[in-house]
């Protein structure tokens, strides 16, 4: 991942091209080909972006969780593997924040038109917001903690956050099912017309490809940063060993 081999670069460009092509097809399907939603009109087209991205933004925290566990497992056994896991954890947390931000923003645009309000403390909105808050706090910790221990602390927080996500989900569902929400968002899977399926799946595929692409890109960037750090540390040690004449 870290060496700049031409094959890897070609694969990355190919992947980029495919992701863009699929997204273009998805855009054409969602905006031009699919008939407007019977109940909502054209604003219903936000759905083709909002729902795939919401589904994917629930996926990246799991990658972060797995990478955090892997980091803690390898920390004392195999530090180089642990660093790789840490780079993956960082990349997936950042992509999770990006995707859940997009999910929140597209949802708010839809809510402004459909409900006439930007925000409501509905179960799904609240749990997505808390997910966003959890991974922003993860990134904050990585910024604030000192370099030597930031990976370990971040991995611990990643585990806490991943454990918290299902608890948040359950408790908020319970909270909002006893008070029926004032404006109830139509469930995503409460029946989808056949004509809507292609737009939905093209966009799901496109955003999945795009998410994996930026995840791997960020991962490679972080790996290079780690290797540069190691190189700098090595040179510093070598310089300190030279005896002044």
């Amino acid at each position: 991942m870290e060496q700049r081999t031409p094959t890897l670069r070609n694969v990355a460009w190919l992947w980029f091209g495919i992701a863009i092509a699929v997204l273009v097809v998805g855009f054409r399907q969602a905006i031009f080909l699919t008939p407007a939603d019977a109940a909502q009109g054209d604003i219903g087209r936000v759905f083709y972006y909002h729902v795939p991205i919401a589904m994917l933004s629930l996926l990246f925290p799991y990658i972060n969780f797995a990478a955090s566990l892997a980091y803690l497992f390898w920390r004392n056994r195999d530090p180089l593997k642990a660093l790789t896991a840490d780079a993956l954890a960082l990349a997936s947390a950042e992509v999770a924040v990006v995707y859940s931000s997009i999910c929140l923003v597209t949802g708010m645009i839809w809510g402004r038109v459909a409900w006439n309000i930007w925000w409501t403390w509905d179960a799904r909105l609240t749990s997505m917001l808390i997910l966003w808050l959890l991974y922003v706090s993860y990134l904050m910790l990585r910024r604030f903690s000192s370099t030597g221990q930031s990976q370990t602390l971040a991995a611990v927080l990643g585990i806490f956050a991943a454990v918290d996500v299902p608890i948040v989900y359950m408790s908020i569902r319970w909270w909002r099912t006893q008070h029926p929400a004032p404006v109830f968002g139509g469930g995503a899977n409460s029946g989808m017309d056949k004509s809507m399926l292609p737009a939905f799946f093209w966009n799901l595929a496109g955003w999945a490809l795009w998410g994996v692409l930026i995840l791997l890109f960020r991962f490679a960037l972080e790996r290079r940063r780690q290797l540069a750090d190691q190189e700098a540390a090595l040179q510093a040690i070598e310089a300190s060993l030279e005896i002044p004449q």
Binding site: F144, L153, A161, V163, M170
Partner: protein, 229 residues
């Protein structure tokens, strides 16, 4: 058995330290009192008894949350003086005993603050509790444990970070949101008597589940955090 003795030793040490200075209890108490006064000035609770009952649970927990954050920030810094924490790391006793002792000590401090604050709160807000007051004796300890166990853990986690005073609330609040939701809902349910007993029980059970889960993870991961170099 030896584990329990280690926990008790750590607890005794923390209680003695606190007894000699009484810094964190006094600080927390005055801070929580100030928050209550500020909310009292902002809302004029005596004129609107129904509204007051509906928001009092939230205000009480916000006051306790902020007050305990101020104390939790100090809870590990006193171990940094004279390299006490390094000595703790070298000690043969399990690190989680140190963590548990500290959590129990902090729990006792916050409970002491609550014991003083609750009557003051009722007087200042002119609260007339409609539900079963004794349920609060269950909700307050469970809620406090949820705040203190995670707070102590994250205070240790951010101990060597830059601006750790800022970092603690940034980490603690998102993780604690489900617990905060449960304790505020249960407390408001008791104060207003709008929730029936089964619903309040479910909130208390959720709080207890949260406590058990995060106490377990804290005990399991504390050694990693203490030796994170």
């Amino acid at each position: 058995m030896t584990y329990l003795r280690h926990v008790l030793d750590h607890l005794r040490k923390d209680l003695r330290l606190e007894w000699r200075s009484r810094d964190s209890i006094n600080g927390m108490l005055f801070f929580a009192l100030l928050v209550v006064v500020i909310f009292g000035l902002a809302f004029d609770p005596t004129s609107y008894p129904t509204t007051t009952r509906q928001i009092a649970g939230g205000i009480l927990w916000v006051a306790l949350l902020f007050a305990s954050i101020t104390a939790l920030n100090q809870t590990w810094t006193r171990e940094l003086r004279n390299q006490v924490l390094e000595a703790q790391r070298m000690a043969p006793s399990p690190p989680s005993a140190l963590f548990l002792g500290k959590v129990i000590a902090n729990m006792l401090f916050v409970l002491a603050v609550e014991a003083v604050l609750a009557p003051v709160f009722i007087v200042f807000f002119n609260l007339h509790v409609l539900g079963n007051v004794w349920l609060l004796a269950l909700i307050l300890p469970f809620g406090t444990w949820a705040l203190v166990v995670n707070g102590t853990f994250f205070a240790a986690l951010g101990l060597r970070a830059r601006n750790r005073e800022l970092l603690l609330p940034l980490l603690l609040l998102p993780i604690s949101l489900p617990a905060l939701l449960a304790m505020v809902q249960a407390t408001t349910g008791v104060l207003t008597a709008e929730l029936d007993l089964i619903q309040i029980n479910t909130w208390i059970k959720q709080l207890a589940g949260y406590d058990i889960i995060f106490t377990t993870i804290g005990i399991l991961l504390f050694e990693t955090v203490l030796n994170a170099e």
